[in-house]
């Protein structure tokens, strides 16, 4: 039996988390200039704090996923300076413990997908360090948002690697947390010290579970669909920006670069996008994916086919961010609806 604890209100929960902010970096969803993102609560304005409850408990993920807190858009490997002919190399900053409040099931699953890549041998140290240091407080959605397709991807009630589950008891207004990992237990203990109380029951979400798409079927349908003229049509519409990839919670490609000025510099990694023409360009100038079609196709095949083959799961969690922000309205559905016939035939 996992312990369940309760705060009288969301406000109390926030207050309690605030108390822990010397120990943890506490991040939660809020809006900044109308755009929804996770932000450290210590850096929020009052106005922004007032948004946290709504967005934490909402049945739809914010625009920004939790990914940047585990896999930042830029991250330094080493810093180097040259002094008196000697090279001084430093690996900067150790990761700090962090709490992510109001993460969504789709976020959890997307991290689990990234885990498949980054935590398998060879392990990505930078990611692992942050992953180990992060406590996820996950809100279980009661229903789906307008662009959510989590049901298709079997994500909606996934709570696998969540450390704490969060739910609101509408009748009492209490916020209930259920720890389900060691990190979760520790945080629950700490929150009890900050005035939260034990609670006998946890409220399970109401959302009905629908049968998910079968990953192998999709993969097969995709593979059968490879030569379709559809891809050329889609590529003609795509404008080649990186919105879909940069807001995707499962995309995890990065580029390694050096920055050097005078006698100092850094080697860092930074998000890359398979939609950029230079993504696959090799040093000699050859590019195995020279056309937009190659790139568009690759993005969908990576998520819906290659990832299945390599990691045994679909590379999409159905969060709907890519489709919502695509300036020309291309979404996962755009592809899934087209291959749908073939999926059903099998």
């Amino acid at each position: 039996m996992k312990p369940v604890i309760a705060a009288k209100s969301f406000e109390q929960l926030l207050k309690a988390l605030h108390q822990l902010s010397s120990k943890y970096l506490v991040v939660a969803p809020t809006t900044e200039d109308g755009v929804e993102h996770y932000r450290p609560i210590t850096q929020m304005s009052e106005e922004q704090k007032s948004q946290v409850e709504r967005l934490s408990l909402r049945n739809q993920p914010p625009l920004g996923s939790v990914k940047p807190f585990l896999f930042p858009d830029s991250e330094i490997y080493i810093e180097f300076t040259k002094k008196d002919g000697k090279l001084d190399v430093q690996t900067p900053r150790a990761s700090v413990p962090q709490i992510i409040l109001g993460a969504k099931p789709c976020d959890v699953v997307s991290l689990e997908l990234i885990d498949k890549v980054f935590l398998e041998d060879p392990v990505d140290g930078l990611y692992q360090e942050k992953r180990d240091n992060t406590v996820l407080i996950v809100n279980q959605c009661d229903e789906m948002g307008a662009n959510c397709r989590c049901d298709d991807f079997g994500v909606q009630r996934s709570t696998g690697s969540a450390d704490l589950l969060m739910s609101k008891d509408e009748s009492s207004g209490k916020i209930l947390l259920k720890a389900q990992s060691e990190k979760g237990n520790i945080l629950a203990e700490e929150l009890l010290k900050e005035g939260m109380e034990e609670n006998p029951v946890f409220r399970e979400p109401k959302v009905p579970v629908k049968e998910a798409l079968e990953s192998e079927k999709i993969q097969q349908a995709m593979d059968d669909f490879f030569e379709s003229p559809f891809w050329e049509e889609l590529a003609m519409r795509c404008i080649g920006c990186a919105t879909c990839t940069f807001y995707c919670p499962t995309c995890h490609c990065y580029d390694i670069r050096d920055f050097q000025r005078k006698e100092q510099g850094a080697r860092y990694r930074t998000w890359d996008s398979c939609m950029f023409p230079d993504y696959t360009r090799m040093a000699g100038g050859h590019n195995p994916r020279p056309t937009r079609k190659d790139r568009v196709q690759n993005r969908f095949y990576h998520k819906l086919s290659y990832f299945v083959k390599n990691e045994g799961a679909l590379g999409c969690v159905g969060c709907g961010r890519c489709g919502e922000k695509c300036p020309v309205g291309i979404s996962m559905d755009t592809v899934l609806n087209r291959i749908g016939g073939e999926v059903n035939d099998k």
């Binding site: 810093e79 300076t81 920055f259 000025r261 005078k262 100092q264 510099g265 850094a266």
Partner: protein
């Protein structure tokens, strides 16, 4: 307290025909000015684009100076007309973004205005000393 010890770094782009020559003449005349300035020779002030200016700031320059011939005296006829148009826009955009546009100095200095060159360097240096180090456009990896 910073003002006493802070030595601003100034990168100057000087056109070959007027301002660079003006700086040469300051040398020939043994005029003295602060060591803070580093001059980069360009054929004409219009060769300098915004990218170069911003790059200098990124790298940690506290001031950037673009010096060309007086309007009407451009060795290439019209180069400095382009410079003043482009740099006015750059400065107004910098100002609009809250960046310290006064750290970008555009100055007309002719080949025989050694005094003017010296005065410009002196006053720009002391102005930057008062302003302190530039941080707004600096790439933090160039901080050391």
């Amino acid at each position: 307290m910073m003002q006493d010890t802070f030595e601003p770094k100034i990168i100057a782009f000087c056109c070959n025909w007027c301002s660079y020559a003006g700086a040469d003449l300051a040398g020939t005349g043994r005029l003295k000015y602060p060591e803070n300035i580093r001059i980069i020779r360009v054929p004409c002030s219009s060769r300098v684009d915004s990218a170069l200016v911003l790059r200098a700031f990124q790298n940690g320059a506290d001031g950037v100076m673009i010096a060309g011939c007086h309007p009407g005296d451009c060795h290439y006829d019209t180069g400095n007309y382009h410079t003043r148009k482009r740099m006015m826009l750059l400065k107004s955009l910098m100002e609009f973004m809250g960046l310290d546009e006064e750290r970008l100095l555009v100055k007309w200095i002719s080949g025989n205005e050694a005094d003017r060159f010296k005065d410009t360097v002196e006053s720009f240096t002391s102005k930057l000393k008062k302003m302190g180090a530039s941080g707004k456009v600096r790439d933090l990896r160039c901080a050391k």
